[in-house]
């Protein structure tokens, strides 16, 4: 069987990688920090759409600079144990023969996040902490919440779609090497329909040109129409304004995002697009149903349930939205992801406080955060000493005390207001119970 051109013409050297030169530079700098033995982060996460050279860059680098690239595909392992066995082991030894250096390449990390095996992610996280060799991860969508811990540990390097010119140029080189004559405008058509995905362009080229000496525009007609890749914002507009469930469902075909990722976008845009409370409640009923299907898919690995989840989440919001919003409502980036960035610091402080309480009071950190932290914050905030002894007891830092005072401290007006409101209502409570 003839070799696939996508393999045959994979870059052999870093310089041959097409486009994304800033990302290549960022990667080289990071590897350099390994070479001199002082990486600030031990892992790199290369992310972006398919077929733009993420994996190729790593392979080319390994080849050029004498690294063994140990490839682990996310579909190879599913759980913590496997992860440890495969990646953990090899991350502890520089190489088998003691000569060559090593890079671990974990492909499709976003594929692990989608499944139930959260153990895989936490194992990976531990492995990154302890690794002695560079770990490179590759993902299309790195924004899954489950990948958050890994994002924090990694140098994030984004890859973008390739320009039409860059793809045309590469196709031309391949044609020359294969001895095929192709007019520029035909190559340019091929490049265009690939929408920035070099791999698919090369695939198409091989499909229509292999074994030929020339290629004309007519030859391209045999190519099936690949689904048009719509930008997510465009897709959202189609979804929310679809006239039928089928229309809404069709809007997500061709998006290079997993249904669960698209779901987040729909979920967080629903409240701005659907303003009537009744309609919003209906939309959320259906979104909640889709969520249940996702849960069942993960739990039972019953992928065929996906066909029920998708109409719920796409057709659901389309059918529920009957009243047009007042004026044009922009579609936005999911709030959830912004929230994570915005409150990262606060979350960490809170966790650190919870751990300190837990270690003194024989509690889990969760219970410490829930049951003790608010009370301790309240007490510290009301002490007239600038550093009450309870602060020393728990060994809180100034930053932590500052946080507690900010959240549980006294706001004079608020105090009165709360007294009024809170005192009245719960009185019923005691009557109701006795």
């Amino acid at each position: 069987m003839p070799q696939l051109w996508t393999e045959k013409y994979r870059p052999k050297k870093v310089a041959e990688v097409v486009g994304n030169q800033d990302s290549v530079k960022a990667f080289l700098e990071w590897m350099k920090s390994w070479e001199i033995g002082n990486p600030a982060k031990k892992a790199a996460l290369l992310y972006g759409p398919a077929g733009v050279g993420k994996t190729s860059l790593v392979l080319a680098y390994g080849r050029e600079y004498g690294y063994d690239v140990v490839e682990v595909n996310a579909s190879d392992w599913r759980n913590e144990e496997k992860m440890k066995a495969v990646v953990g082991e090899s991350s502890q030894y520089a190489s088998l023969d003691g000569y060559s250096k090593k890079i671990i390449l974990v492909d499709e990390v976003d594929g692990i996040a989608g499944r139930e095996d959260a153990g895989g992610i936490s194992a990976l996280r531990k492995i990154i902490n302890e690794t002695r060799v560079p770990i490179v991860m590759v993902a299309n969508n790195p924004w899954d919440q489950k990948l958050a811990p890994i994002r924090e540990q990694s140098v994030m390097i984004e890859f973008k779609r390739l320009s039409k010119t860059a793809i045309t140029k590469r196709l031309k080189e391949i044609c020359e090497r294969e001895g095929i004559k192709v007019p520029d405008d035909v190559l340019s058509k091929l490049a265009e329909r690939s929408e920035g995905d070099l791999r698919s362009a090369i695939m198409d080229l091989q499909a229509v040109a292999a074994g030929k000496n020339t290629l004309t525009e007519k030859d391209l007609e045999v190519l099936g129409e690949r689904n048009r890749v719509k930008e997510i914002f465009e897709a959202l507009r189609y979804i929310f304004y679809a006239k039928s469930i089928r229309g809404a469902r069709a809007a997500i075909e061709g998006l290079e995002l997993e249904p669960q990722a698209i779901y987040t976008w729909i979920l967080d845009n629903a409240p701005t697009q659907i303003t009537e409370p009744d309609e919003l409640a209906q939309a959320f009923d259906l979104l909640a149903r889709a969520d249940i299907y996702f849960a069942r898919i993960e739990k039972l690995q019953m992928w065929r349930l996906m066909k029920y989840a998708i109409p719920m989440m796409t057709g659901g919001v389309a059918v529920a939205r009957r009243t047009p919003p007042k004026g044009f409502q922009k579609f936005t980036f999911p709030h959830k992801i912004r929230l994570f960035q915005q409150y990262k610091n606060e979350r960490e402080i809170r966790q650190s406080i919870a751990w300190k309480i837990a270690s003194k009071l024989h509690l889990s950190s969760y219970k410490a955060g829930k049951e003790m932290l608010p009370y301790i914050g309240f007490i510290i905030s009301r002490s007239d000493k600038s550093k009450p002894r309870i602060v020393e007891y728990f060994e809180f830092t100034d930053e932590e005390v500052g946080y507690l005072k900010k959240i549980y401290g006294e706001v004079e007006e608020k105090k009165e207001e709360i007294k009024e409101v809170k005192v009245k209502k719960p009185v019923k409570h005691s009557r109701g119970k006795s």
Binding site: E80, G119, L267, P271, T272, P277, D278, L280, A281, A283, F284, D285, L287, A288, D291, I292, F294, A295, R296, E298, H335, K336, L339, Y343, E346, R347, R350, A354, A358, K360, H362, S364, S365, Y366, K367, G369, K370, E371, M372, Y375, F378, I379, I380, R382, S383, D384, K385, R389, I390, Y393, Y408, K415, I418, K419, K422, K425, P426, K428, S430, G432
Partner: protein
């Protein structure tokens, strides 16, 4: 007035029972444990019972009575919280480290390991742990504490002496709070005591925390002070979210809900319980309340089934918003 004395130590720690004699209202358990102390033939034990009734404290008191006051420092006793140590491997490693050697000079030939919140272990972890119990039983005895003994797999239960801790009675909690108030020279009126009891839902830890927080504002504690604290430290946030949803600010309600889940790290089940408590006092018709209670039950169940907490709770808030709009229009 300086209230510095209030802020030296958490009272849950200060007034934690030090010996078995100090443990409140668990007479049967304590009697059996005292008998075990006499013979020093300690079995593996499972302490089961609701939160805040003294399981952890009893385990510590037992160890202190067995090994003496330096039971931790001398290396006889260690505590692992299963909800923080998820992987069985960590537990196994820790157990191995701990159980491998027996300290010199003791008259008891084994150590004690307390595995707190052991019902948080997954089934797989429990099966692995069962082996651990056997492997190290000659040098180490285990006390497992759990809220729900039915979440502990049978093979473990059958290897343990099971002790059931009773829920605390009203008189136990009020009695203890009164006693602490005396020690701390506080004046707490009866209505305040009632309120503390009602809110704490049988959890002594919560009751003591509420008292200490109250004492940080005033030595004279009445009902108002207690409500003020409850609004501040526990009920306030949930109420705010419900009120936002009801007044049509769904997006703000959603954002606050997410902060509870992702910044504070609250579990969905705890949020559901808090909503449940508030639901009865919302400005809605009784019919609507019933419908919402039913929906909340569905949310609770779905989360247990694996549904995403924020999504299921948002669906509840959206329904609440729709219900309150009807009420507003109807007026």
């Amino acid at each position: 007035m300086s209230l510095e004395t209030v802020t030296t130590l958490p009272w849950v720690e200060k007034y934690r029972p030090k010996t078995l004699n100090d443990v409140v209202n668990q007479e049967e358990v304590i009697t059996s444990l005292k008998n075990i102390l006499k013979t020093k033939a300690v079995p593996h034990m499972l302490f089961a019972g609701p939160p805040g009734v003294g399981k952890t404290a009893t385990a510590h008191a037992f160890a202190r009575d067995l090994y003496g006051p330096n039971y931790i420092e001398d290396g006889w006793f260690v505590e692992i919280n299963a909800s923080d140590e998820r992987g069985i491997q960590t537990i196994r490693d820790k157990v191995k480290m701990f159980a491998r050697q027996i300290p010199m000079g003791g008259e008891v030939g084994f150590k004690i390991l307390l595995l707190d919140e052991s019902d948080q272990l997954t089934d797989d972890a429990q099966h692995a742990f069962r082996r651990v119990m056997e492997q190290y039983s000659s040098t180490c005895r285990f006390i497992l504490a759990a809220n729900y003994s039915n979440r502990i797999i049978e093979p473990i239960q059958s290897r343990c002496a099971v002790f059931r801790f009773r829920p605390l009675l009203k008189k136990d909690i009020i009695g203890r709070i009164k006693w602490i108030a005396e020690q701390e020279k506080l004046e707490v009126d009866d209505a305040a005591l009632e309120t503390i009891y009602e809110f704490c839902e049988g959890d002594m830890r919560r009751a003591i925390n509420t008292l200490q927080a109250a004492a940080s504002i005033s030595r004279k504690i009445d009902e108002k002070t207690i409500y003020y604290i409850l609004g501040y430290v526990s009920r306030g946030e949930i109420r705010k979210i419900l009120e936002l949803a009801m007044s049509g600010n769904f997006i703000q309600a959603r954002d606050e809900l997410r902060k509870l889940i992702y910044v504070q790290g609250l579990a969905g089940s705890d949020i559901v319980s808090a909503i449940y408590r508030e639901l009865f006092y919302l400005d809605l018709s009784e019919e609507d309340k019933l419908e919402l209670i039913d929906l909340l039950g569905e949310v609770d169940y779905r989360m247990a089934e694996g549904g995403t907490e924020e999504v299921q709770l948002m669906a509840f808030l959206a329904r609440l918003a729709a219900k309150s709009k009807k009420v507003n229009v109807g007026r």
